[in-house]
């Protein structure tokens, strides 16, 4: 170990951080180099001087100043917390109404969809049943001819019944409307569905108005 390496290891030597081999080399150099020995002694005395420096204590008013500042910061925070709490209470009073309205609107929309689809589905079911039935029909030539003749007979009887209906219409003071016609309104939407749709629009409008009032 040379003097430069010795000086680089003085600090670790004093703090007991040298490994066995380096410490041995350090000690060996120490034995033979008086200059490095002086450096080691001066470093030890310097550290001892640092450790023996006059005891310094914190000023008497330091703690009080800190606590005073913390308490002063706490007051605005407390007011802010109270304000946040009031706002939360306010919003919690309004929120259930909005929530209820939203849920009601969703139920109405779903109900409308179900009703519309039910009718459609029902219609599809009937068509499906007819298709199923027709699938079972005999499509042989004789069967087709037989069906055609039956259809022609049906047509004639329908013409006769139609005539009867016409008489009924001209004789009666009152108009009679078939059940199918009674259920339909313009645009092909039934009365019941209109009611549901209008209720849904009404609920959504209420929500919008409530939201506007809340913002103002």
């Amino acid at each position: 170990m040379n003097c430069k390496e010795f000086e680089n290891n003085i600090s670790l030597y004093i703090d007991g951080k040298l490994n066995t081999d380096t410490k041995a080399a350090f000690n060996a150099h120490l034995e033979v180099c008086n200059s490095c020995k002086v450096k080691l002694e001066n470093t030890k005395n310097m550290i001892a001087g640092l450790q023996d420096l006059e005891e310094i204590t914190a000023p008497k008013d330091l703690r009080g100043n800190i606590i005073q500042q913390l308490k002063a910061e706490e007051i605005p925070n407390t007011e802010k917390q109270a304000s946040d709490s009031t706002q939360k209470n306010r919003s919690s009073r309004v929120f259930p109404i909005k929530k209820f309205a939203l849920v009601a609107a969703m139920i109405l929309v779903v109900a409308s969809t179900v009703i519309l689809n039910y009718d459609f589905f029902q219609g599809s079911m009937d068509e499906g049943a007819m298709i199923m039935e027709s699938a079972d029909q005999d499509f042989s030539e004789d069967a087709v001819m037989r069906d055609t003749e039956e259809a022609a007979e049906d047509f004639e009887s329908e013409e006769e019944s139609f005539g009867d209906e016409e008489v009924e219409v001209t004789d009666g003071g009152e108009e009679t409307v078939s059940p199918e016609q009674y259920e339909e309104d313009t645009f092909g939407i039934k009365y019941g569905e209109w009611i549901v749709l209008l209720l849904g629009i009404g609920v959504i409008s209420v929500i919008i108005v409530l939201q506007k009032n809340r913002n103002t």
């Binding site: 003097c3 430069k4 000086e7 680089n8 290891n9 003085i10 600090s11 670790l12 703090d15 951080k17 008086n34 200059s35 002086v38 450096k39 002694e41 001066n42 470093t43 005395n45 310097m46 550290i47 001892a48 001087g49 640092l50 450790q51 023996d52 420096l53 006059e54 310094i56 204590t57 914190a58 000023p59 330091l62 703690r63 100043n65 800190i66 606590i67 500042q69 913390l70 308490k71 706490e74």
Partner: protein, 192 residues
Amino acid sequence: MNVEETKLIEQSQLGNIESFEKLIIRYQDQAYRTAYRILGNPEDAKDATQESFIKIYRSLKGFKLQSNFSTWMYRIIHNTCLDMIRKRKRRQEIPIEIKEHQNKDDYKIPLEDPKDGPEALLDYHQLKEQVESEILKLPVEYRGVIILRDIEGLSYQEIAEALEISEGTVKSRLNRGRTQLRQHLAELLEDG
């Protein structure tokens, strides 16, 4: 950290200022002393210590109870002192060079070559008289590790945690800082 101290910290985390006051009583001397040795004057040291305890209180909720409170406190004190030095940019009674750098571990300080010729054996009492003022001449990175090791008695690991540097960097800065301080003292006392 003992049980009593843990309880004080827990209560302080819940906003109990009286408990935090007891923590201040425990640590205010160490905190102030460290700030005083880094900054070199009592007014700055008092400001830095006050500011540090306020920061500690505000960030207590993030403190993990398994950690060492005093190490954390030293970190905040040290960083507050560095911020104060940078902000005020003032010259100390004895001129100090403040070197700013991004990554503390990458900071390279050129190793001073040992003086040629033998060094005189210095008297302990002479050393003690001068060391307090001479330490303020050191770069702040050396000053910090010497104060924490030789005055506050922290271990290498604790210093590394407090200053958020590696233990290798602690060893390196401590060795260079002590060497530089010793050489300054030797020159001063030999000339005097």
